[in-house]
C-alpha cells in the first residue's frame, strides 16, 4: 500500500524505475565496460539532444499542450548555426547565439499561435513544423559545413571530471528549478491542471502558455546546438525524429499529456531510457546474436522490432501515472488516500 501511494504521488517515479531497469539490463548485456567514465560520456553526449528536447517538450506538456515542431526547430537551429559560421564566417559564438535566438523565436511563434489564436496545439505545431522545416531547407539547402574541432571535442569531452554534456544538462535543470520557484512555475502546472480554474484564479493563461512555449523554444534551441556539436555539421533533415521521440520520452517519464502532472526529472530519465534501449539492442545483437542461428541475414529488422517492443513495454508503465479524475465509480476520494485509510 505504501509503495502504491508512493508510486502514485511521485510524478517522475515511473521514469526513474524504467531507467533503473534499463540500466540493469544494459549492464547485463554490456558487461563491466558499462562502468567506465567513457561509456557514461558517450551515453550522455549522444543523448543530450534528446534529453534537452524532452525537457523542452515537458514544459509545454505541463501546460496541457504539445509541440510537434521541436524536431524541425532543432533542425532550423542547426542549419542557422552552420550557415552563419561557414558561409558568412561569423564567429562561432555569434552564429550559435543567433541560432539559439531563432529557436527561441520559433517557440514564441508557437506560443502566440497556441495561446492567442487558440488553435489546438497538436495542429498548430503540425503546421509550424511545416513552416520551420521549410525555413531550414531554405537556410541550408543541402547538408554540409563543419564545426571547429575544439567545439565538438569540448562537447564530447570532460569538464571538472564530468562529461561536458552532464554540465549542460545540469545547467538547464538548475534554470528550470529556479523558474519553478517563481510564481510562473506554479502557474504552468495550474494552467495544465485545470485551465479554467487557473483563469478564474486570476492567472493570465495566455502569458503562461506564451512563456512555456518560449522557454521550450529556448531549450529546443540548446538541444539544436547540442545536436550541432554532436554531429559537427549541418543537415536540413537531421532533427526529424526528435519531435515524436521527445513526446515518447516525456510519457515514459511519467508526465501526463493532459497537463499539470509530471516533471523534467522523469523526462530526462525517459530520454535516457530510450537511449539505453538502443544501447541494449546494440549489445544484444553485437554480443549474443551470433549465438542464435537463423537470424543472421535479417537481423537488422529484429533490432528494430525489439527496440519498438521494449518502448511499448515502457509505455505500458503509464499505468502507474495518476489520471485526472474521471468521475466513474466515485473516485472523488482516491482509494487509500482518505484519512481513515492510513
Amino acid at each position: 500500500m505504501r509503495l502504491w501511494r508512493l508510486l502514485r504521488s511521485a510524478p517522475a517515479l515511473p521514469g526513474y524505475l524504467l531507467l533503473t531497469g534499463a540500466i540493469i539490463i544494459n549492464i547485463l548485456v554490456q558487461g563491466p565496460d558499462f562502468f567506465s567514465m567513457d561509456n557514461f560520456n558517450s551515453i550522455f553526449s549522444v543523448n543530450a539532444p534528446l534529453i534537452m528536447a524532452a525537457i523542452a517538450q515537458t514544459v509545454v506538456v505541463l501546460t496541457g499542450e504539445i509541440d510537434l515542431s521541436i524536431g524541425s526547430n532543432m533542425t532550423l537551429v542547426n542549419t542557422i548555426a552552420i550557415l552563419l559560421a561557414n558561409q558568412y564566417h561569423w564567429p562561432v559564438g555569434g552564429s550559435w547565439l543567433t541560432a539559439l535566438l531563432a529557436g527561441t523565436l520559433v517557440g514564441v511563434l508557437n506560443g502566440l499561435i497556441v495561446a492567442y489564436l487558440r488553435i489546438p496545439s497538436l495542429l498548430a505545431t503540425f503546421s509550424t513544423m511545416s513552416v520551420v522545416s521549410g525555413l531550414a531547407l531554405w537556410v541550408l539547402p543541402k547538408p554540409g559545413g563543419t564545426v571547429p574541432s575544439e567545439v565538438y571535442s569540448a562537447y564530447g569531452g570532460y569538464l571538472v571530471g564530468l562529461p561536458t554534456t552532464v554540465w549542460i544538462i545540469a545547467t538547464v535543470v538548475a534554470l528550470w528549478a529556479i523558474i519553478s520557484k517563481y510564481p510562473i512555475g506554479k502557474y504552468i502546472r495550474a494552467v495544465g491542471g485545470r485551465e479554467r480554474s487557473a483563469y478564474a484564479s486570476g492567472i493570465r493563461i495566455e502569458r503562461v502558455k506564451l512563456f512555456a512555449h518560449t522557454f521550450s523554444g529556448f531549450v529546443t534551441g540548446l538541444a539544436g546546438l547540442c545536436l550541432t556539436a554532436l554531429m559537427a555539421s549541418g543537415d536540413p533533415k537531421i532533427g526529424l525524429p526528435f519531435g515524436l521521440n521527445s513526446i515518447a520520452a516525456v510519457i515514459l517519464g511519467g508526465t501526463i499529456l493532459s497537463g499539470g502532472w509530471g516533471g523534467i526529472g522523469g523526462s530526462i530519465a525517459g530520454a535516457l531510457f530510450l537511449g539505453l534501449v538502443s544501447n541494449i539492442v546494440f549489445f544484444l545483437f553485437n554480443n549474443f546474436a551470433g549465438l542464435i542461428p537463423g537470424i543472421g541475414n535479417v537481423s537488422s529488422f529484429y533490432q528494430q522490432l525489439l527496440s519498438n517492443l521494449i518502448v511499448i513495454f515502457g509505455l505500458a508503465s503509464a499505468v502507474f501515472t495518476p489520471r485526472k479524475k474521471n468521475g466513474i465509480g466515485l473516485p472523488k476520494t482516491r482509494e487509500g488516500m482518505t484519512k481513515d485509510a492510513v
Binding site: L122, L123, V131, G134, W138
Partner: protein, 335 residues
Amino acid sequence: MRFNFNNLNFKPGSGMQRNVMAAVRGNQMLMALFIALLLFVIGGFVSTNFLSLTNIGSILSMAVLLGFVAAGQTLVVISGGEGVDLSVGAATSLGAVLAVEIMHGQNNAIIPALILIIAAGALIGILNAIGIIVARVPPLVMTMAMANVVTTVQLIYTNGTPTGHPAGLVALIGSGRLLPVLPWLVVIGILAMVLMQALLRHTTYGYQLYAVGSNSNASYLAGVRVSLIRGGAYVLSGMLSAMAGFWLIAYNNFAFVNMGVAYTLPSVAAVVIGGTSLAGGGGSYSGTMIGAIVLTVLGSLLVVLHTDEAGRQIINGVVLIALLAAYTRRPPIRQ
C-alpha cells in the same frame, strides 16, 4: 400520464439559439467546402487547365485516398478521450503490402486479400485498444509506438521488399474513370461516405460512439459499454486504414514498405478541417472528406505555383495555420 400544473414560464433554450447552433455546426463543413472551391479558383488563375474536368477528377481521387485513411481517424477522434490514431499510416502501409503480396495480380485472390487485410487491420486496432484502454497509455503515444511496430512487421514479412501487384480488376477501379470528372475511386469514396454515414447515424454503435465522445462517464452510467465502444473505434480504425491501403495500391499499382505513412498527420488535419472537434463527441465523415479535398487541392496548388521545395513547405504551413485560425479556434474561457 397527466400533470396538472404548468408553470414553466422560463425558456432558456429559445428557438433562435438552435438555429444558430445548427448554422454554426453546418458552417464548419460549408466553410471547408468554400475554401476548397476558393483554392480551385486560385488554381484556375495559375493555370486554366487546373479547372478542367479531368484535373478536378484527379484531385478528387487523390483526396479520396486521404479520405479513406482519415475514415478510421474520424471515428477515433469522435470517440473522445484525447483520441487520435497515429498508426493509420502504418496500418495503411500494411494493408497495401498485404494486398499486393496476396493478390499477385490475380482477380480470384481479391476476396482472400480483403479478408486478410481487414483481419490484419483489426489486429492492429485490437492491440491499440488494449494499450489505450487496458494499460491506459495515452492514445497519441500508444498509436505512435504501434506504428513503429507495424512498420517493422512489414519489413520482416516482406523481407524489406513487397512483391506483386494488384489484381487487374482492382487496378482498373483504382485508376479508371466513369466520367472525366468521376474516377471510379471517387464513386467508391461516395459509397464509403454513405456507409460511414449509415454507421455513424443509423446504427446503435454510431449513436453510442457519439455519446461516449460527448461524455464518457454519463454514457457509462447509462449502461453503455464505454471500453468496447471506444476500443471498437480503434479496431474499426485499423480495419478502415488497412482497407485504405488496398485502395492506395489500386491507385498506385505498386506497393512499398511504409507507403502510407505520409498520410498520418494529414489525416488528423483533414478530420479537424472537416469540422470534427479534437475534443470528441461531434463531427461527420462527409466533413472529413471535404477536409481531405481542401488539403489535396492545397497540395496540388503548391505544386503548380512557382516555388521551390522550401517555399512549398513554408506556404503549406502558413496556409494551414490560417485555415485552422479561421474556424477551429477553441472558444475563449471568458465568454
